[in-house]
């Protein structure tokens, strides 16, 4: 069950901490070294889908007061979402091993 790239990136971005929408966009840009810049609309479609499927939820807790913007909504991974991210990561990791074995990637 391959995830769409957008979805996986969002899950990755949310893995370390809760973020609000724009922060997710920035994090995704960071993760891909600026290669993948998603538009807000695309992000939120994926986010909406993941919300409905239960992979992501709105966060009830708020981060520390000095970086909190009260009106924004923060999102976090659910346990289900975390499991899916892990599964996908494993799948990709296996593929990477195979790629290494076939000398497509340098060892590292």
């Amino acid at each position: 069950m391959p995830l769409r790239p957008v979805e996986f990136h969002v899950l990755l971005a949310l893995a370390p901490e809760e973020r609000h929408g724009y922060a997710i966009l920035q994090e995704v840009a960071n993760l891909t070294d600026g290669e993948l810049e998603i538009e807000p609309g695309t992000l939120y479609r994926a986010l909406h889908r993941m919300l409905e499927d239960g992979w992501v939820a709105e966060s009830a807790r708020r981060p520390a007061a000095d970086v909190d913007d009260e009106r924004r909504r923060y999102y976090r991974l659910t346990p289900l979402g975390r499991r899916i991210a892990t599964a996908e990561a494993n799948r990709l990791s296996r593929l990477v091993s195979v790629a290494r074995a076939h000398r497509l990637l340098p060892d590292g």
Binding site: G21, E39, P40, R71, R73
Partner: protein, 911 residues
């Protein structure tokens, strides 16, 4: 995240840009908005700020936000619809599996590619469908553009919707010209009007240049420029005082086009001298053209005038203040004042005026009519009629294409059934058919837009005289929106309806029957649609028949004179050079005798107003011995002629005699009247010798002759009283020349001009035209309407024939198996054929039963454009019926023949 500024402080200020962003988010489905809308707004806002900080332009930022929204909102809507459909249908598969979670966008693109592939495989179908629809959409776009340009557009002045025409109103004529005194009274009417002006357009002689020419001028009060709110491009306009009677100065304002033409846009035009009507005038200003000149009606509203002259210099004996009513009024209503309110105020002023000056005012009041209405009024019916017909054609085209799509969907039933069995949901199939229909609509709409623009060129070239179509018809947003709307409606009508019906395949039955299932329900719908098509065609054919009938009747009307081989032209003598009647009469006599000498001229005369030239006038008259209270005198069409006029025009002289050269300024005034006037004024008695009084003469006139009736303004006018005065007794500076020629009228043009120039080398002449062309062009609008409608009716007929053929043909294919059985059991080929044709006839009869009353109804609505024919004219209806019936029969023939040729063995074997 430190770089992102927080919205500390005023929340309201931070919210403002967000409000605009909310407009974007509003495009998403409601549920999406509810769940993540606010968050999306924040993210979009942040993204835009960051980009702005990075130095991108506002436009670029908004464009990408727009693109993002369009793409994703569409996809979200597709998803939402898919879910909605799935919930309502029987669905084998469970939802939520990972396979399903390709986004809607991918599916959409796949459907589009699939549709193109299908079209490549069956290019005939695609071509026919696209071209049919494109023609329908194109014709509609073109027609709507014209209607938009003529009916819906405001005048190109700052407040064009507030401009109104000010008419004087008398008992006999509701739209009459104003007098100078009336203008002065109404000018003070500050309650309803921002400004009032008096004006009249006239040909003006431009001399002291290489070739004396005629230009088009407007005599106007200074307030004229105020009313229109135009600006002086250079120099200035003349003031109210400079234009008033008695204090008028010899200054002139020229139009932008005239400045370009005459002065090659040289700024030194200001201060230059122009000799107009023999008087030297100084150019003091150039009028800036009104904005958006391209969309203005051809002859309307001051656009094509060359010069603007103070009204006080209007060439009428005695000056404008003593000339009585002779000019037009134009005004700009105050904002918020309606035409009705203005008219109420006017009534008060006119009654005051009447009380102060009962003799001069004579029971006259005043009225305003909105400018838009006065330009457009008459053309409304024909334009709407055309729009309706073109709509009918489009409807028929849609029905045809819809049937085509249904037929094709049925052909593809097997394929659809297979796809369903392999796992495509009902939604997927529906979506594919829907996408194909929308694609069809989109391509047709785009092509249709191009065809529409292109045919618009052709239509404006044909431009009929009385439908005010502007020179260039722009493509504006309203037209684009209209075309898109039509395209969408087409897609709905053609695609979704059959698509919805086709996605209920009973899989087993379809697969077993090998794709030839009996789709009974859709057959009834198809029949109903075809009947509708035929009914619409009948209506269209009938109405165009009525118009053709009108056109032919118009051409057959007896105008009372022989218009073939008659040369005409017009001229105006400058008052400065010909101040006294004797001098004008002298010019006339010499001009006539010189032109008579031109080779090819059989007879020649002067007449003040050539029939069908657009010039017209009437006069009140009183009969001697029959006093009538003021304001209630009978009126007669007036014309002033030299001897030989009746002979030249071949108007029969019924009694008495024609004018002669001896009826001149020294002899007692005489008049010739027409039959109608003789009959109405002196019934049962001889008109010869009777005497009447007209304002132009102090002494009474004696009737010396009675001539036949003539039509003067249009072929459709009813018979009315006409009286003729002798030109040598009433010389006027403006007159026209008519000459009967033995050769083509226009071939003597140069000779005639030369002949007149030997009398006065500086005299301009204009409106050179053969009389029959003048008469014919008065029928222009009926002819235009009739030809267009006939064209649409022809197309509708063709499409209806194609539609019937398609339906019949399809029915035969459907029932090939059944026909095979029946023929194997002994039914003759003839019998089968008769049955098919019989079915076609039944459909046609139903259609006629519906279409004919519709045609009569439509005819009643369009009565205004018909002439000499009733909406329920039996001949026209009969012809339309027979035409359609025969076309239907012909369309049924081929499928019927095919049915009769069915090989029973093959049909049965095809199981």
């Amino acid at each position: 995240m430190a770089e992102l500024s927080r919205h500390s402080g005023d929340p309201a200020k931070a919210d403002m840009p967000r409000r605009r962003v909310w407009w974007l988010v509003w495009a998403y489905p409601p549920r999406f908005r509810r769940d993540v809308g606010q968050s999306l707004v924040d993210a979009l806002d942040d993204r835009m700020r960051a980009r702005r900080a990075a130095g991108l332009s506002v436009t670029a930022i908004w464009m990408s936000a727009l693109a993002d929204t369009l793409r994703n909102a569409t996809a979200e809507w597709m998803d939402a619809l898919r879910i909605a459909v799935r919930r309502s249908a029987f669905d084998v598969r469970r939802s939520g599996s990972a396979f399903e979670r390709r986004t809607a966008m991918d599916s959409l693109m796949q459907d589009v590619r699939y549709a193109f592939r299908l079209w490549r495989r069956r290019p005939g179908f695609a071509l026919v469908a696209i071209v049919t629809l494109a023609l329908g959409v194109g014709a509609n776009t073109a027609m709507f553009s014209i209607v938009n340009a003529v009916l819906l557009r405001p005048l190109p002045y700052a407040h064009g919707d507030r401009l109104a025409v000010l008419w004087a109103k008398t008992a006999s004529r509701p739209q009459s010209l104003l007098s100078w005194d009336e203008y002065l009274a109404y000018r003070e009417q500050k309650e309803s009007f921002d400004a009032v002006a008096l004006w009249l357009g006239q040909s003006v002689n431009l001399t002291a240049v290489n070739e004396p020419q005629r230009i088009v001028g407007v005599f106007a009060t200074g307030s004229f420029f105020d009313v229109l709110e135009v600006k002086a491009e250079r120099g200035r306009f003349f003031s109210e005082e400079e234009s008033a009677a008695g204090t008028a100065k010899p200054v002139v304002v020229i139009s932008h086009q005239f400045w370009q033409r005459q002065f090659a846009s040289d700024p030194s035009a200001i201060g230059a001298a122009l000799t107009l009507n023999g008087t030297p005038m100084t150019v003091i200003g150039i009028m800036a053209p009104p904005f958006d000149m391209s969309s203005v009606p051809a002859d309307g509203w001051f656009i094509n005038y060359d010069v603007f002259i103070p009204v006080g210099l209007f060439p009428v004996p005695g000056g404008i203040e003593h000339a009585g009513p002779g000019m037009l009024g134009v005004t700009r209503l105050k904002p918020g004042v309606t035409v009705t309110a203005a008219n109420a105020n006017l009534a008060v002023v006119s009654s005051r005026l009447l009380a102060a000056n009962p003799k001069a005012q004579n029971g006259r009041t005043a009225e305003v009519v909105s400018a838009q209405e006065s330009i457009v009024g008459d053309s409304r019916t024909p334009l709407l009629l055309l729009l309706a017909s073109v709509g009918v054609v489009l409807l028929i085209a849609c029905v045809n294409v819809s049937n085509l799509l249904v037929a094709r969907a049925v052909d593809r039933q097997r394929e659809i059934a297979l796809r369903s069995a392999l796992g495509a949901s009902r939604w997927a199939v529906l979506r594919q058919l829907g996408v194909e229909a929308m694609l069809l609509a989109a391509v047709s709409a785009a092509l249709g837009l191009a065809i529409g623009r292109w045919s618009l060129q052709g239509l404006t070239w044909l431009r009929p005289p009385s439908v005010p179509i502007p020179d260039q018809i722009p493509l504006d947003t309203r037209v684009l929106v209209f075309t898109l709307g039509v395209g969408a409606a087409v897609a709905l009508l053609c695609g979704l309806a059959p698509a919805l019906r086709m996605t209920q395949p009973d899989l087993n039955r379809v697969l077993q029957a090998g794709g030839r299932s009996n789709t009974g329900g859709s057959r009834v719908t198809r029949d109903v649609l075809v009947v509708a098509e035929i009914a619409l065609s009948v209506a269209l054919i009938a109405i165009s028949g009525l118009l053709i009938h009108s056109m032919l009747s118009l051409q057959r009307v007896r105008v009372g004179f022989d218009s073939s081989n008659v040369f005409t032209l017009q001229f105006r003598l400058p008052t400065a050079k010909y101040p006294r009647p004797e001098e004008i009469a002298g010019f006339f006599r010499e001009a006539v005798s010189h032109v008579r000498g031109v080779a090819g001229v059989e007879s020649v005369a002067l007449v003040r107003r050539v029939p069908f030239s657009g010039n017209w006038g009437d006069t009140p008259f009183t009969v001697e011995g029959r006093p009538v209270p003021q304001g209630q005198e009978p009126r007669a069409g007036q014309n002033i002629v030299t001897p030989d006029y009746f002979k030249t025009m071949r108007i029969p002289l019924m009694r008495g005699r024609d004018f002669t050269d001896r009826d001149d300024l020294q002899s007692p005034p005489v008049t010739v009247v027409n039959e109608t006037m003789a009959r109405m004024t002196w019934p049962g008695d001889d008109a010869i010798g009777k005497r009447i009084n007209v304002p132009d003469f102090k002494e009474p006139l004696t009737v010396i002759g009675v001539v036949g009736d003539t039509k003067h303004r249009s072929s459709t006018e009813p018979a009315q009283s006409q009286l003729y005065l002798a030109h040598y007794q009433l010389p006027m500076i403006f007159s026209s020349l008519v000459a009967r020629t033995a050769v083509q009228p226009l071939s003597i043009t140069t000779e005639v001009r030369r002949a007149i120039w030997t009398v006065d080398k500086d005299q301009p002449m204009w409106s050179v035209a053969p009389l029959d062309r003048l008469v014919e062009s008065s029928h222009g609008s009926t002819r235009f309407l009739a030809s267009l409608l006939a064209m649409f009716a022809g197309v509708a007929l063709l499409l209806a024939a194609v539609g019937i053929y398609g339906v019949m043909s399809y029915a035969v294919t459907e029932r090939t198996h059944e026909i095979g059985i029946r023929m194997a059991l002994g039914a003759s080929a003839d019998r089968v054929m008769r049955e098919v044709v019989g079915r076609g006839l039944i459909l046609t009869s139903i259609a006629l039963a519906v279409g004919v009353p519709a045609a009569i109804g439509l005819g009643r609505l369009a009565r205004g454009v018909l002439f000499a024919v009733e909406p329920s004219d039996p001949l026209t209806l009969a012809v339309a019926t027979v035409l359609l019936a025969s076309v239907s029969l012909a369309a049924c023939y081929f499928p019927a023949r095919r049915a009769s040729r069915v090989d029973p063995v093959r049909a049965l074997a095809d199981e």
